[in-house]
Structures are given as C-alpha cells and as structure tokens.
Amino acid sequence: MAIESPKVNVPSKELLEKLFFTAYSIRVFETEGIKLYRQGLIRGYFHPYLGQEGIATGACAALSKGDYIASTHRGHGHCIAFGAEIKKMVAELLQKETGYCRGYGGSMHIADISTGNLGANGIVGAGTPLGVGAALAAQVRGSDAVTVTFTTDGATNNGTFLESLNLAAIWNLNFILVIENNQYAVSTPIGDSTRETDLYKRGTAIGVESHLVDGNDPLAVYDLMVEAVKKCRAGQGPILIEARTYRHMGHHVNDPGKYMPEDKLKYYKDRDPVDRARNDFIELGGATLAEIEVIERKIQDEFAAAVEFAKNSAEVSIEEFRQFAEAY
C-alpha cells in the first residue's frame, strides 16, 4: 500500500494555524520538559514525543467535543493536542497538588476524564481495550462520540491488540486505532519483533478498514482522520490508521539512543513534523514570519508561566493521602 496523503480539500488558514500551534506546543513542552528533568525537577519516567508531533496534532484536530482519546506511555503530545492545560501538565510532572492527577499519576498517567481524555498508560497496549470500552459505552448510550486510541508498534504484537480491535469490529464501534509506528520498542527495532512490519495489515486480516499514512505530515494525518471520523459517525467503524514516524532521540530522557542509525535519524529529522506544520502554515496558509514569531513566543511564554505556576503550587498533603488510603 502506498502511503496515503489524501489532501481532500484546500486547508483553511485557521486549520493550518491550529496544526502548527499544536505541533509547536508539543515541541516546546518536550524540549523544555527534558531540561526540567535534567535539572532533577521531574522524576520517574519521561518518554519524549519529539519527532512524532505530527500524529497527535493531525489526529486530534479532527475530533470534536464529546469524543474520547486513550494514550500511551509517550502521552504528552496526545494530551496537548486534545486540549490539555499546559500548567496542569507541568504541575503533574512536578508532583504538585495542582497537577491533573494531584501529583499521584505522573507522566505515564496524565488523564482528564472531564474532557474525555482517558489517560496515558504505563502498560503497553492497555489503551486499546480501554478505548474500545469507551466506544462501547458511547454506542450503548446512543451517542455518536468517536474514541481514538493512540497505540504503538510494540503494542501490535501484544494480545490486547487482536482481542480488542476484534471486539470493536464485530460491534461496529466508533473507534479509531492510530498506531504510532516509530519503528522501535526501546532499543529493539521493529524488524526484530515481527516479520511483517506493515502493521496496518493486521487490521485488514480481521476485517477492519486499515490505512497507512506519513506520521510526519500533520495535514495528511488530519485529512485521513477527518474521513475516518466521518465513517465512524456513519456507523462504518472501526478504522485502523498506521502512522509511520521516528523518534528524534532515545526511548526516554536517559536513553542516548545509540542504536538509532545516523542516516535514518537524519532522514526523519529532515522531515520534521513541526517544520512541516510551520511550512504548511506559511505556504498553504500564507502566514508571515511575523505571525509565526508571535505564535512561537506565545507558546514559549505559556510554558514558562506553567513552570512558574507549578513551582509555586502547593505540595501534596501526606495526611490527605493517608485518608484517601483508608477509603480506597
């Protein structure tokens, strides 16, 4: 299957701005977050989304209020693209009471039920059954809400992939599974984990409409997702989308990623999704460099403010935690 870039209709400037805004916001969050991590302000695991921004950006832009997403251990990008507040995210990473999960969850567990964000997950593959479940609840409820689960290449070799996508299929659920194929599971290249690296074929094999798209092209992801969402709401779900991409660094902040071949890394960095969004905004949207600069400054300032907010936020209360345990 050739990589699809439908480009169904001429994108509006608003859309292009939104895509760039989102992609750049994620880029800033991760680059600055890594600095905070290196300063020892963030503890535990931190899996950067750098290089993969195009996927969450394009996918979430196609969703509406009332829809759901479920995410992975590499979940910051999905939260941001789905509209999370940067300051509550930073506060969570800094273990503060004002974080999305009161500092109880951390990077791998940021969720915001109130907006339909079912959360990141520390268990590879777990987001798929959870997302299918949300889609099932929506169908029982008679709602036309769509659920998108972002999953990973590594998760496609896990039983949860087959079992839950098959359930979504027999029940024609409004479910879209977006596989972020960054071609590695930690240091293990995808070719060592499976013979068939065209992952979308696994959907086809169980009767699920499946697509392959360039994950570094936010607009292509968006266009395909718009179609997928439309089909789901028309009762033609589920749909699987494999988005090819590559990390810009190792698996987590402390992984030098030496196993990533120079040339391949360069190939993908030359196709940086954030640059792509910026260029689309300029070339297809006619944005000026001045406009770009304003946006970038705004995003940087928001992050800086978020860090201040988090630093000044209250510490969690051990007493409240003990009471919570009594009731748990």
């Binding site: 999305y100 969720a111 039920i113 079912l118 959360g119 479940g133 949300a134 609840a137 079992e163 748990y328």
Partner: protein, 333 residues
C-alpha cells in the same frame, strides 16, 4: 418474600438495574442468545436488545479491558467471565487498570465496573475450572470483592454493585446457582461491608462465605447436637470487610474457626486470622483455626476433589479443637 433460586435472584438484580439505568449493559460468552451457561441472563436479550446484552468471542482480557474502559467513560458494564479461572487472562486489566485508575487520577477517575464470575469445585471439572481465587483480588487495593451465599444476598449485593463507583469482583459459586432461598419482594439492596449473622451462638465464632456458608451451618447443627452453639458469620463482602461484627462475636465466644474453600496458603482466611489475633489477642482462648482447601490444584477424580476441600466433619473437628484448647493461664504455668 418469595423463595427463588440464586440464579434467578441474580437475573432479577440485573433485570431491575437494566430497567432502572440505561447505562447498564452486560457482555459475556453465550450470555445473550443462549442465556448463559447457568441461565442467569436468560431472557435479557429479548427484553433489552442486542446493544445491551452481547455475546463475545473467547477473549477474556479484551472483555474485561473493554468493560473497564466503558466504566471509565461513564458506562455501567457487567462482564461475565464463565469461570473465575479464566479471569487470570484479564488480570492486567483488573490489577493494573481497574484497581489503579482512581489513584492514578488523583481521585477524579472512577471505575464502576462489575465482573461477575463463578468459582469453586463441583462435578469433576478439574484443576482449571474449580479454583477459588478470591485471595488474588482481595490483595489488590481498589477492588471490592463480593461473595454472596444466598439468593437474597446475591440479589441485594449485585444491585448495590451496579450503583456504587468502584470496580467489583462479584464471585458466585457453581454449587449455589440452583439453591433456593427467601428473597424480599420489591426493591432489595444490600450494601457492602455489612456482614450477616447466619446463625447466632455463644460458644464459637465461625466465619465463612460463598458455598462454605451452608456447609458451616450444617456443621453448626451437628455441634448443636453436642450442646455447642456456634455463631456463623457470613461477611458477604470480603472487601470491604465487616471487622466490627467479627470482633464483637469473638469478644463473646473467644473462639474462632474460619472456613474457606480456597487453598490454605495465602487465603483470605489467613488475613482475617491475622486481624483477629491482633485486634482480639486478649479475647482469644484458643488459636484461630482455619479450615481450608489443600495446597494443591483440584483433581478430576471426584473422591479426590472432595478430599481437597473442606467437608462438614472437618469444620466440626476444628470447632472442637478450639473448645478443647487449654487456656492461657494454665499455659503460663
């Protein structure tokens, strides 16, 4: 009051809650078209339709996983797992998702998920279809563990399960489905954490749940013939556990026998014993006795199956041991 079967009481609970709350739905293997292996869901498909009563493929991890996801998204799923043994396929979703979500979201996220399943020995279904695995759920904070022994408790507890906010592991027993009991007419709800004294007595406290309750009551009758009056407590929910009721009884009887069908090692009985010896140390006139299954899987052979789990005589013998135990003061000499 009407006398109905345990399985019918369960069906009433599901039926009433489905009628009352449109978010409630049920999925499982053969539960729709066939009405379930134990007929618990018979008639529900016709009444509530294919959207709310669904047959599934053989995919326990997926079934439990989508149930948990539906609950997180505000649905009211009931996932039926044919044998609790098969729930092992979905343990990740139970342990790492359902039980953790509330904490991981700082308290905001709730998981009103109900897994119905059944366990215990019966009829030579052998090692992979006879286990009593409540200890594995009991040890995971965040789960509620419910094990009704009568039709009334089964109905009341299942209805309550479908109205509260936390993940419930609702464990039935293959031997109980066809047993009968009186069930109140109209709305009947039993809240969690409230034990039930199935028989009053002053000489020894016996704690049992699920299918061990009728067996322990048998033992109590046998003891009664010897002039020993046993108090039989059925916690009904193991999590939360009605410690107050247990400790109050122990303060009165000073002797305890805990009966579980599950294997002895690492069972819930051990935990209850550890609580009693700590909270009622000075009340006890004898060691807490535990009557439990042998520490080995359940064999196919029916005589061995029987030998592998507690029988009435074993319970009686344990009660007598607590009564003939020397008191501490003598021991101190």
């Amino acid at each position: 009051m009407r006398e109905i079967m345990y399985r019918d009481a369960l069906r009433e609970a599901i039926d009433e809650e489905m009628a009352r709350n449109h978010e409630v739905f049920i999925i499982g293997e053969g539960i729709a078209e066939r009405g379930g292996s134990y007929k618990v869901t018979e008639g529900l498909l016709a009444k509530y339709g294919a959207k709310r009563v669904r047959d599934t493929p053989i995919a326990e991890a997926g079934m439990i996983g989508v149930g948990v996801g539906a609950a997180i998204a505000g649905g009211r799923p009931i996932v039926e797992i044919l044998y609790v043994d098969f729930a092992m396929l979905g343990m990740d979703m139970i342990v790492n998702q359902a039980a953790k979500f509330r904490l991981m979201t700082g308290g905001e996220g709730r998981v009103p998920f109900v897994m119905r399943s059944q366990g215990g020995t019966g009829g030579g279904v052998a090692a992979q279809h006879s286990q009593s695995l409540e200890a594995l759920f009991y040890a995971i904070p965040g789960l509620r563990v419910v094990m009704p022994s009568t039709p009334a408790d089964a109905k009341g507890l299942l209805k309550y399960s479908l109205r509260q906010q936390d993940p419930v592991i609702f464990l039935e027993h293959k031997h109980l489905y066809m047993t009968k009991g009186m069930v109140p007419d109209g709305e009947h709800i039993v809240e969690f954490g409230i034990g039930d004294i199935k028989r009053e007595g002053k000489d020894v406290t016996m704690i049992a749940w699920s299918n061990m309750v009728p067996r322990t009551l048998e033992a109590a009758e046998a003891l009664s013939k010897q002039g020993i009056e046993a108090e039989v407590i059925d916690p009904r929910t193991l999590v939360p556990l009605d410690k107050a009721m247990i400790l109050e009884s122990v303060a009165k009887t000073k002797r305890v026998v805990i009966v579980q069908e599950a294997v002895r090692r690492g069972g819930v009985a051990s935990d209850i014993a550890s609580i009693i010896q700590h909270e009622a140390f000075y009340d006890l006139d004898a060691p807490v006795e535990i009557v439990a299954g042998l520490d080995i899987p359940v064999p196919f052979n029916l005589a061995l199956e029987k030998a592998s789990v507690p029988q009435t005589d074993d319970i009686v013998a344990a009660a007598l041991r607590t009564l003939h135990a020397p008191a501490h003061v003598q021991a101190a000499e």
